[in-house]
Amino acid sequence: MAQKRTIKRFEIPANRGNVYSADGSLLATSIPKYDVAIDAVTSSDKNFKKYIKPLCDSLAAFTGKSSGSFEQKINKARQTKDQYLLLARNLSYTDYMRFRNFPLLKLGAIRGGFVYDQKTKREHPMGGIAERSIGYERIDENGYATRVGIDGAFGKDYLRGETGSRLKQKIGKGEWKPIRDVNEVEPKDGYDIYTTIDVNIQDIAHHSLLGQLEKYEADHGCVVVMDVKSGEIKAISNLGRNKIGKYYERLNYAVGESHEPGSTFKVMAMMAALEDKVIDTSTIVDTKNGRKYFYGRTISDSHHGGYGKISAAKALEVSSNIGLATIIDENYSSNPEKFLKQLRDWHLDQTLGVSIIGEGKPVIPKPGDKIWSKNALPSMAYGYNMQLTPLQTLAFYNAIANNGQLIKPRFLKAVKEFDRDIEVFEKEVLVNKLCKDETLSQIKDILKNVVSRGTGKKLYSETFSMAGKTGTARTDYADIEAWKEDPKYVSSFAGYFPAENPKYSCIVVIHKPSTKVGFYGADVSGPVFKRIAQKIYTDTPLIDQIQTGDYNNELIANDFEKFNSISNKYKTIMPNLIGMPAMDAVAFLENMEVDVNIKLNGNGVITSQSVSKNIKLKPNQTVVLEAS
């Protein structure tokens, strides 16, 4: 019995590992936080009377609320015998120390009624930026875990560590002494995680997305930047609108949200047709006058009056729905399986298997499915009747930029214990080669033309190049009458930059922009893409390499010789400077062994000097030079 009271098993929590960005900036870490409360009953009447006013003044100074309201609250708590009146939550250690020194609370737990509760909190030093992707892991009292982002996905394996325990014996001052000199179970601190996030690109991505969302009053949006060769995600931002119209990292839309991609998928459809050689880039398609019937349903183009007869390449450049639907329907309706197999070979029907939990599943229908019909094929040709997540679309565009090699987007670089590598993550190839080089170069040319003269031409910049595809898809159109009243779109832009030897691929998807402001992919999402491309372009120095020349110019050599001979001769005596360039004359006087004050009027060749030649100069004498 006595032993039970004096000996106790203590859990020793392990320190959770930190999450770092690629350059070692801290993205998530654990720090102690404090809740402070007051036991309003325990203090003596004398102390309570004496200190209540100064305490409330201190509280008022700290919180900015009125002193009177605190006084009322604490007095009431004392009357109702409340032994736990919460004063402040989630204080940092520094603030907690301030509270400890407030009047009354200073007297401690018994005499002053100071009650506190310490807990460890996860902090994101970057604030709201990339919060959703950096993530957290929360385990509620029932043991259910909520796992968000990188922190959530790698909590169990790496960050958490293992709790230790130790038997302790009670000694004075409320402290416990360990019984043995080692822990019964040693705690093991969690490992640190190094992500692929580049803080600078992330900052730009976040703020340019935020700017566009605010401008277009959109519901939500996301942007992802990926390194072409390694598949490392350099930036990922997901912002959603709350009730009062502010945006914050709400859900990981880029990873989790499958939706109809719209026109960005035309690239996949076109590529399939080119790869199967059922068409050529110059094959003529008839897009009519902007409206065409497919199995009793009209497909229309956004361009009024239509494009008429155009080449297949042009159909993609101007993003003609009819063009793509015609190409795919004409060549695959008798054998849809051939088209679908191509998509499967390209991994488009499967999740990428990224490390963040909750990846959305792609939907690619096949004959026999509920959503399959005669219209399924032409619809898919322009990105409807199917679903992909932004990240899945991006991975495909990245593969185009990466010479056809499809790689898995990656959020982690390494797991470390201090500076020792525990695990290093390498790039993972999903499909080694999507298509023939010929197809690849055809698609790349078209994507470049989209920006130079197609639907993305507003984004064109003379100074830096980019390639990509716009997308403007209708959404929430199940009730077509309601949709016509209040049309809703998903605007997107996917591509890579620079157009030649791409370094980064990027996707921007913005859901439900206000149609009063605009809704086309090139207007809404394109600028975010451009801003990031431009930022990376202006941050990368252009390197010019030159070789040192042969400067055996006789004129220069003679001048130099002349200057040298005068300066060797005249050290304290005024030389004749007339006829000498002002620049040389000043340099000359400044280098003499006597300090003189020089006044120069004009800036050409010296025409007169206030001190004549061969006069000995005195220190601090003023010499006035007139120049032409």
Partner: protein, 70 residues
């Protein structure tokens, strides 16, 4: 025996004091680090220098490398 038990107790108090100090320093470090992270972000800097009339260049910096002739 008693002396060493006491000295062990002393150590426990010392450790608890030191670990509090660690907490304080850690908390101060994270506070400082958070502030720094926010301050050094380009978006913050752009806002700060805007009033001085500075803005981001639209052309990249040029680096001229001079290679000595061999």
């Amino acid at each position: 025996m008693i002396a060493s038990a006491h000295s062990a107790d002393e150590k426990v108090y010392e450790i608890s004091e030191l670990s509090n100090e660690v907490k304080e320093l850690r908390s101060a470090f994270v506070d400082g680090r958070s502030k720094l992270m926010r301050l050094k972000m380009e978006s913050t800097i752009v806002k700060k220098v805007e009033e001085k009339g500075l803005e981001i260049s639209t052309t990249p910096p040029k680096k001229i490398k001079v290679k000595a002739r061999d």
